[in-house]
Symmetry: C2
Subunit: 415 residues, 2 copies
């Protein structure tokens, strides 16, 4: 039995106790972890310092180093988030449906933990606590596999979590870390079907694509967002410009930011220059089609690559269309089914867009930046699913649950 | 572009029209197919005859040949099932949730089609119609990949379906068959992520395991059923024996039949002989542990393999335990998380069993044979999911749906 199988076996052995655990027991464990992270923060920061030194030696980029970095303030935030998690409703045990069959058999569908959740992620050691705590709250065991660049931090954090768990009613092995960060252990994790019920990649598109391609364990895919905002001819101009500016510039590096603005040609001709000026004022580099260039010749010509690209930066493509149908066709071709918006005062155009655009979240007259578990009011977020199965869009605690049918009879064996 | 990619592309091109299609349009298409199958039955039976001749030439087993065989009566049943499907509620467009955020943003979650569904299956040409019709009812495009042993039947059936679709409002390419049944096309289908949203294997454990292991497309897994019935010391003896006989002998070849009966030792000593006699009378071959053998020495000794085996035949293993906890531990070790039952008059034992057993369906005082889409009242069945994600237990039309969030604002970009 390999090291990973041993970890899987230990995780599986905790699932019965975790499924039975009361909401109080789970919340108490989260509070103990919250306290322990503060109490043990010097040990965590020392381990983190070692990761930072190693990262600098390896010439890792400053932005990645910033993701690895922990500070007293960041640990404090992480600890506070754990306390907030205890205030959320526990979905486990909730009755989702009940019905009675003609023969008197009563059928009840309830929410149960998934079982053992695998998380594979990069750099950020805060994901270690975040993922572990969401799994504990929902009665799932978790197997964490972070990157080598944060291994000292992750080991220190999981040590603190496991110590806190020994003081709780939950099993210590509810949270385990794969300490061997060689590629081989990731590959083995992808095929750990005997022990893992689901695998969730958190990080770059490259990581997610690799996991989707190679994993035989079911994957919860949190994909990229090549999001669009379509300004219809009847859009309120001031609202439209405010929303484009917000959706592009408030935080360009996130998946719910827009990457292309689609303009109805009448909007372009009437208000295009005003929009372009506002975007330029916010430092946005623009790539447009020929019609947009005619309005403002300083715009570079957009290529197919521009429409395909998730810039994740202060960069935006412009596409001009003659109709809502053409806007929808562009989105169908280039979108990643994440978040799409129409800005219009015409209800018919809005309805067509909301009905026909195939995406996790489709907006009328609002910014795409609301595609977020916290903005939805879930109080927690596992990620934003761009796949069609199990969960789509922002995933809160419910996404970490499965279901179970309970059937109550009095001797039934006939219809 | 390969032939399969062409098929995938054509399927994807139908998804917008299918998502828009009204319930009436979908039902009309189903009725047209229902009629066409009867009108064209001689062509279908001729093609089927060719499959049967080929199968006999290849020395394929009589039971598989029976699965390939179509008759007028069987086509009639298939046609009638299509009519029944039109009477079911269309889940597409249903509002599942609505909530309003403090900033006035209204969020609505609705049911939408998954998109393109791949079905990979064996022998039975009736699956061709069954799978296609369930997908059409839920606005999904379907790509079918049957086995070479039924290829002539499948081609004839899909020709009839596509002809009927050209007379309907739905696109002809909503239903397509992969006619090339070489192993390579299956392997390519497993990696057709650009066009397939989900892949559903229907058939043997071997087929399902291969798909789960090799597919990078998300899989809806319909697994094997190593199901148990536990007779607690307080069980009503007559009820317990009736339920064991039903769950084992009514149709031994199905996944919701039981493979092991677990007896509390007090039940064994008081009523074991009566149970064993009843099972023998029904021709059931018994394998038991030593305690069971002491009650009836004619029982062969059960090995670990017996407890692991899904007999799918008139064969049953017996395990004796001292407590409900021990019964649960046995199920945890050998069960496939399909259907598990406790027969008891003690509510505490029942609650413990229902809470702690991890399976899609957990029963108190009823036969496991009710784990079935039709028995649940769904009116249709895609299969019985033994996985934890998306759907668990009997899957009706809802399992072929995804969700989409619609967000209605009036300019919101702040919390």
């Amino acid at each position: 039995m390999s090291q990973l199988q041993e970890i899987g076996k230990r995780a599986k052995q905790t699932t019965q106790a975790l499924a039975r655990a009361s909401t109080e027991a789970k919340n108490q464990a989260l509070l103990l972890i919250s306290e322990a992270l503060i109490a043990e923060q010097s040990a965590i920061l020392t381990a983190n310092e070692q990761d930072l030194v190693n990262a600098k030696e390896k010439g890792i980029s400053p932005s990645v180093i910033d993701r690895i970095r922990l500070t007293e303030a960041r640990i404090n935030d992480i600890s506070t988030a754990l306390q907030a998690l205890t205030t959320l409703t526990d979905p486990i045990g909730t009755t989702l449906e009940t019905f009675t069959r003609p023969n008197g058999l009563k059928i009840k569908k309830i929410a149960v933990p998934i079982g053992v959740v695998g998380i594979i992620y990069e750099a950020r050691p805060n994901v270690t606590v975040d993922a572990a705590s969401l799994c504990l709250k929902t009665g799932n065991a978790v197997i964490l596999r972070g990157s080598s660049s944060a291994i000292h931090s992750n080991k220190a954090i999981v040590k603190v979590i496991q110590q806190a768990l020994t003081d709780s009613e939950l099993p210590r092995d509810s949270v385990q870390l794969i300490e061997d960060t060689r590629r081989e252990t990731a590959e083995e994790m992808f095929r750990l079907n005997d022990y893992l019920d689901v695998l969730i990649p958190r990080g770059s598109k490259n990581l997610i694509d690799t996991v989707v391609k190679k994993s035989s364990v079911p994957v919860l895919e949190t994909g990229a967002g090549n999001c669009h905002m379509y300004l219809d001819e009847s859009a309120d101009v001031e609202m439209a410009i405010e929303l484009v500016i917000n959706a592009k510039t408030q935080r360009p590096s996130v998946c719910n930011a827009i990457e292309t603005v689609i303009l109805h040609e009448d909007f372009l001709h009437a208000h295009g220059q005003q929009l372009i000026n506002a975007l330029k004022k916010h430092g946005v580099l623009l790539h447009g089609d020929e019609k947009a260039q005619m309005v403002d010749p300083s715009i570079t010509l957009a290529s197919v690559e521009d429409y395909e690209t998730e810039y994740l930066d202060l960069e935006l493509a412009i596409k001009t269309v003659k109709s809502t149908a053409e806007a929808i066709a562009h989105i169908h071709k280039y979108g990643t089914k994440h978040s799409e918006a129409i800005i219009t005062n015409d209800e018919n155009q809005a309805n067509q867009f909301l009905t026909e655009v195939d995406a996790a979240c489709v907006y009328h007259n609002a910014s795409t930046r609301f595609t977020d578990g916290f903005e939805f009011g879930f109080g927690a977020e596992i990620g934003i699913s761009t796949q069609k199965l199990h969960a789509r869009g922002p995933m809160g605690l419910n996404a970490l649950t499965s279901t179970k049918y309970l059937l109550y009879g009095n001797g039934q064996y006939k219809h």
